[in-house]
Amino acid sequence: MSSNDVLGRGTGGDLRLAGLTKRFGSFTAVDHLDLTIPQGSFFALLGASGCGKTTTLRMVSGLEAPSEGRIFLGDDDVTERKPHRRPVNTVFQNYALFPHLDVYENVAFGLRRRGIKDVKQQVADMLDLVELGHLARRRPSQLSGGQQQRIALARALINQPQVLLLDEPLGALDLKLRRQMQIELKRIQTEVGLTFVHVTHDQEEAMTMADTIAVMNSGRIEQMGSPADLYENPGTTFVANFLGQSNLIPGTVEGVRGDVVTVTAHGQRLTLPADRCRTDTGAVILGVRPEKVRLAPAGSALPPGVNALAGGVVSDASFIGVSTQYLVRLPSGEELAVFEQNTGCEIQRPGTEVVVHWDPSQSFGLDGSQDIEAGADLDEESAA
């Protein structure tokens, strides 16, 4: 097992999961997952705890055997291969640095196991890449969290795996360090050009780093796409609520004319582009992101063609510097969130009567049969 050929390197190619399923007793953690991750991409599996994302990762690394389905690396079926024979490496959630070995030996571990004798230059290069060359002889326990994180990354990267798996790699770091490491990870990924598969519950982390995000829920992929795609045009209430914040208003489709869908909600007519609406009859959930919504004093003239909901009352206003966050209570009792950027306009006091309005092209329409709250509470819980 000392040569690279045994690890199945050289063929290269995409990571492909086909019908991948994992059951623990009667519980299905991962449910018929079909997924192709192109070589060289930075891919994020995003979901709340227990959605099956970590189980998926462990199956790719070989630490968990799938109940059904296959895993392909390029043209190779690696489903049956033991973890130590897969050209896949993991950055573990708690880093799992070997406490009895120093930094140098931790980084050299994988090379040595593959029978490579002369590791000096490679280890030095790798430590330079993560900018920790001066700590080579320290023990992991003598490093800070951020340093341990970089060593864990170096230890995995040095093997030049076909796929690098990152299991909540920044979860243990504080906010500032996390931002720094996000940029760092992105830089390293661009530099080495390997496929990174990143598992996280932090939507901001996923959006910052990944080219493609797959939002997972109950062992299935809810939606997949670029960060902008997912944010601007979520396909389900779960994605709309879990990824950022959304105002979701239940309504009924009145009709479709050309590429415009007309919806009634709370007795008011709203429109949205047909290509952003996932249903064309019956119940619909109309969504709009808080930062796209604007406030106008009651009775003031609105620009033509906007979607507007009248009769709202400001129930809360929080000034947070870059923006002011409002909660506006509609006559129906619903509360809408509105983020108004600080461009110098006047702050509306609680109790003020307002009209909320937005550009119809920024609305999205979701199938009305879904749970409107799906994913909302999860976001709060995992963001804590």
């Binding site: 799938p66 389905g69 795609d229």
Partner: protein, 310 residues
């Protein structure tokens, strides 16, 4: 979109590891267990069961023993050696109680006030045990001897008169008395109490004390409501590690006691090693001691609610 959700391919059969590999996986623990367990069964379990058998035999060393189902050995054993059973139980319970009363404050003090001397202090608890316990027990003979300082101080304070009146010492001496036996046992088994207590106390987050006092507990109430419940595994472990060896101990009774402080262990040794036909009765009183200890220990563990301790 650079990534596409693809249609599921035809279902492949569930991969199963080859049967041989699975069998090997099931066998591994037994291969690891077998030598050790065999040793325990042959040299621990079988002897105890043989002794149960031997305890209902009759005969002597010259003519050999026959299995006669003579339960009289138990009757003899129990009635003849009742005082020794009483002493063993009394001394070991007293020893456990004193060890707990002395050991808890020490473990507490090291765990929470020890600072950077914690491990040094714990080393000091353990280090004496590396000198043969017999030599250390005999050293008490020097310290507690009649012309030593302790006896003269106790005499001046008339303490020995009081303890002699209570039957715990004899005359103006400390040695060769029940008190000396218990004293020696406490000395010998105290480290076994302190170690588990320290281990469980050391795990307690000191911030819990602050939380306790923040929630209106004074020092004692914090200990009673927070520390003590959390250190119960240590208390249970320590009392077991003290009581079990103490109940079978006869070293202290022999070295520091007198003919009236006889314990069961002495009698068992006597019957087995010095009397020619004491073997059935010796077996009987061993079985009773073993069963009694086991019942007490199991009752205690059940009462303390820490069955997962073992």
């Amino acid at each position: 979109m650079s990534v596409s959700l693809q249609a599921p391919p035809a279902k492949s059969p569930v991969p199963q590891p080859p049967p041989a590999a699975r069998r090997a996986g099931l066998l591994t623990p037994w291969i690891l267990l077998l030598p050790g367990l065999l040793w325990l069964v042959v040299f621990f379990l079988v002897p105890i069961l043989t002794s149960v058998g031997a305890s209902v035999q009759t005969g002597n060393a010259d003519q050999g023993y026959r299995l006669t189902w003579d339960w009289g050995n138990y009757g003899h054993g129990l009635s003849d050696y009742l005082p020794q059973y009483g002493h063993s139980l009394l001394y070991s319970v007293l020893c456990t109680v004193f060890c707990l009363l002395l050991g808890y404050p020490v473990a507490y003090c090291i765990a929470f006030r020890g600072g950077r001397f914690k491990s040094l202090l714990m080393a000091l608890v353990v280090v004496p045990s590396f000198t043969s316990f017999l030599i250390r027990t005999i050293a008490w003979k020097t310290i507690l001897s009649d012309n030593g300082p302790i006896v003269s101080v106790l005499n001046d304070l008339h303490v020995l008169n009081a303890t002699t009146a209570m039957g715990w010492t004899v005359g103006n001496h400390v040695l060769a008395s029940p008190a000396a036996v218990v004293f020696g046992m406490v000395y010998n088994f105290l480290p076994f109490m302190i170690l588990p207590l320290y281990t469980s106390l050391e795990k307690i987050d000191p911030r819990l004390h602050e939380a306790g006092s923040d929630l209106y507990c004074d020092t004692f109430a914090t200990w009673r409501r927070v520390t003590l419940p959390l250190s119960m595994p240590g208390v249970v472990g320590g009392t077991l590690l003290t009581f079990i060896p103490a109940v079978g101990d006869y070293i202290n009774a022999q070295l520091l006691g007198n003919p009236n402080t006889g314990v069961v262990g002495q009698k068992i040794e006597d019957l087995f090693l010095r009397q020619t036909d004491g073997y059935p009765v010796g077996s009987a009183i061993s079985v009773v001691l073993m069963a009694g200890t086991l019942i007490l220990v199991l009752l205690y563990i059940r009462k303390a609610g820490t069955e997962d301790l073992i």
